[in-house]
């Protein structure tokens, strides 16, 4: 068996594609998506404003928006309202706030008017602007109420109590210091690319079969189970190396919070068992290499979506989330995130580990059942 393991490692090293698919490509994904999402997290929304009133009130309104965190005001006095609206229609601009002429005067008699033009196709960037406009409108209403109450003879304290909301919302970020986009991206792409080991396992077995090597080895005293184990172990170890490299890159370059290293290591080992167990079963079940590669793509990419490897699974419709529970990727990812974000230890992730181990063992058992027919078909 040791002999097969050494040979497989030598072949793995010679095959540059393995390094690319197992290490380089996931690193590239982590770097690219990490950059994109970290930019998104720190970026500000542009609020395009056309001030047709040019009054002290309109300027105060604009200044107030500009002071809000995460928003930046952009006034383009050279452009007309109609041309800006055309831009929205063509999809070149997401929204425009127009402060109508007579805004200041309107405020005084309770009829101040602004128009908010928006691209219906870009709710992600227009909804926050609409929300702050409504919030500001509510503030104006409160001011008006306060003035009325004051005119009615109420003291500022009485006014404050009257206008106070009966409900207070206090945001509490339980794990705010540990969560960032890298806590999604690094474990997400690590788990996703682990399952690409199935590709190389399918390819290796079919290379061995089609070259006549399996038939030739059958003519030697080697125990068939030693051969099977010898083919599996290098893939298992390469997944351990792959996960270690990717998580280490996340830790050193993106300050990923790893949490309990022992728990993370156990997830990696169980994940490697799971991915390579399934890979071994797949290699011995499928009838051709192409069929194997197709099934791998389906399991890897389909699993990545429903298991929440690309984005948090609670962003998915509930039926998709339920499908995710049947994928090993989900249990690996939730295990990683429990340890990394929520500070969980072994006691909290044992269910994840057992599910991964059971799937891996099921794959190995299936491979054992399929090994004899596979070898028989290789003899001809």
């Amino acid at each position: 068996m040791k002999n097969i393991v050494i040979k497989e490692f030598k072949l793995m090293i010679k095959e540059k594609g393995n390094f690319f698919f197992l290490i380089l490509m996931p690193l590239l994904f982590i770097v690219v998506f990490g950059s994109i999402f970290s930019q998104t997290a720190s970026s500000t929304l542009i609020v395009n404003i056309q001030d047709l009133d040019h009054s002290a009130a309109s300027q105060a309104f604009i200044k107030q928006i500009g002071q809000l965190k995460g928003f930046q005001v952009k006034e383009d006095s050279r452009s007309s309202v109609s041309s800006e609206i055309q831009k929205i229609k063509k999809g070149n601009l997401s929204s425009l706030v127009v402060i109508d002429k007579g805004f200041e005067k309107g405020l005084r008699n309770g009829q101040g008017m602004i128009h908010f033009y928006k691209d219906a196709a870009q709710p992600a960037s227009t909804a926050p602007i609409q929300a702050i406009l409504q919030n500001m409108s509510a503030q104006y209403r409160e001011q008006k109420l306060a003035q009325s109450l004051q005119a009615g003879g109420m003291s500022p304290q009485q006014i404050g109590r009257t206008l106070a909301a009966p409900l207070r919302i206090q945001p509490v970020e339980e794990n705010g210091s540990r969560f960032d986009f890298m806590s999604q991206i690094v474990p997400g792409y690590t788990v996703m690319f682990v399952f690409f080991i199935m590709n190389s396992m399918v390819r290796r077995f079919f290379q061995e079969k089609e070259s006549g090597m399996i038939a030739r080895i059958q003519g030697t005293p080697l125990n068939p189970l030693s051969y099977l184990a010898g083919m599996w172990i290098p893939s298992f170890i390469s997944v351990l190396i792959q996960c270690t490299v990717l998580l280490a890159c996340g830790y050193f370059f993106y300050h990923l919070h790893l949490g309990n290293p022992f728990a993370v290591s156990l997830i990696v080992i169980c994940l490697a068992l799971c991915g390579t167990g399934l890979g071994l079963a797949l290699a011995l079940i499928v009838r051709s290499e192409n069929q194997g590669l197709g099934v791998t793509q389906l399991l890897t990419l389909g699993g990545a979506i429903v298991a929440g490897l690309w984005f948090p699974s609670d962003m998915l419709p509930s039926f998709a989330q339920k499908i995710g529970y049947f994928t090993p990727q989900y249990w690996a990812m939730s295990g990683f995130q429990d340890v990394m974000i929520r500070g969980a230890g072994l006691g909290s992730i044992w269910k994840n580990l057992i599910i991964l181990i059971l799937i891996g063992l099921a794959g190995l058992a299936l491979a054992l059942i399929r090994f004899k027919p596979f070898v028989r078909s290789a003899a001809h």
Binding site: K2, K7, K14, P221
Partner: protein
């Protein structure tokens, strides 16, 4: 006569096709046994059953007195098998391939190194030991393919079409290796569809066609039994074969005549006597036709081996 291989009524069926149908033959210790037959005759199937790669559907195979099915691993330790395909790891060096195959037979350490040096020397590839196999010519790959089966010093070497698609130089090298192995006491089974190779290397042969052994025995015995003796005559004058009573059949070949007869020496004497008497024939060449396995195969099946 000590036999090392006894195959008795061997059967193998692939679907509705009988790949081997009651195949029976035995192989003498220390001989080079040729298994001759056209492509698809069942040679490779027989080799694979012999080495335990394929199970038989019936019959028995004994190698060195051991049951090849029940005592498979014990048999495999004494047998070296060279498949028809070049089964090597192209990206690995010759040394790495040899290490791998040596390991399959449990050879390691100093013994493995010594044996690797020996087989590399025998195959003439010592200077290319560390080069990747993908940089080798077809003939060199064939030689390493054989070397991988020699590391454990097998007592029986099975070669399945070992010279397909190689240059004459490599072919001669392989022939020399086989002769050297036979001289050192290794029993060899040589499967091929090239008759010239069997004639050049083998002592005993079995001819197999459509899954059946149609003839077997010592090479010379087969010629004696199945090849028609003949005389080849080249003359510038008109020749009338019917005027010689002992000529059974005649036909032209190249610039002369092939005269089939059971008494070639007598026919040659008669022709020479007549020419000496009346000078009616101007003889350019007269010789006995050396029988070939092609003639044997033709005689047995009515078709050419190359058909």
């Amino acid at each position: 006569m000590e036999t090392v291989v006894d195959i008795h009524q061997l059967k193998k069926q692939f679907g509705s096709k009988a790949a081997l149908d009651d195949v029976t033959f035995s192989i003498r210790k220390g001989s080079c046994f040729g298994l001759l037959g056209p492509n698809g005759a069942g040679k490779s199937t027989a080799m694979k059953i012999l080495t335990g790669i394929l199970p038989a559907d019936g019959g028995s195979v004994r190698v060195f007195g051991l049951d090849a099915v029940r005592q498979r691993q014990a048999v495999q330790r004494q047998v070296g098998y060279v498949p028809q395909e070049i089964t090597l790891y192209d990206k690995l060096s010759a040394t790495d391939n040899l290490k791998f195959f040596g390991g399959l037979y449990g050879i390691k350490g100093g013994l493995l190194k010594t044996r690797m040096d020996e087989v590399l020397r025998e195959t003439g590839l010592l200077d290319r030991a560390n080069d990747p196999v993908k940089t080798f010519s077809g003939g060199m790959k064939r030689r390493i393919n054989i070397a991988c089966a020699l590391l454990h010093q097998p007592k029986l070497l099975i070669l399945d079409e070992p010279t397909v698609g190689i240059d004459p130089q490599s072919r001669n090298h392989i022939f020399d290796m086989i002769r050297h192995l036979r001289d050192s006491g290794v029993t060899i089974i040589y499967s091929t569809h090239y008759m010239e190779e069997v004639e050049a290397l083998c002592d005993d042969i079995a001819i197999i066609d459509r899954g059946k052994v149609i003839a077997q025995g010592h090479l010379q015995d087969l010629f004696d039994h199945f090849a028609q003796k003949a005389v080849y005559l080249e003359t510038d004058r008109p020749f009338h074969p019917e005027s010689f009573a002992s000529i059974k059949k005649s036909y032209t070949r190249d610039r002369g005549w092939v005269l089939e007869t059971d008494q070639p020496l007598s026919v040659m004497r008669s022709i020479l006597d007549r020419n000496e008497a009346d000078q009616s024939l101007k003889i350019n060449a007269i010789e006995m036709v050396k029988p070939s396995l092609e003639d044997v195969f033709l005689s047995l099946t009515g078709t050419s081996l190359r058909d």
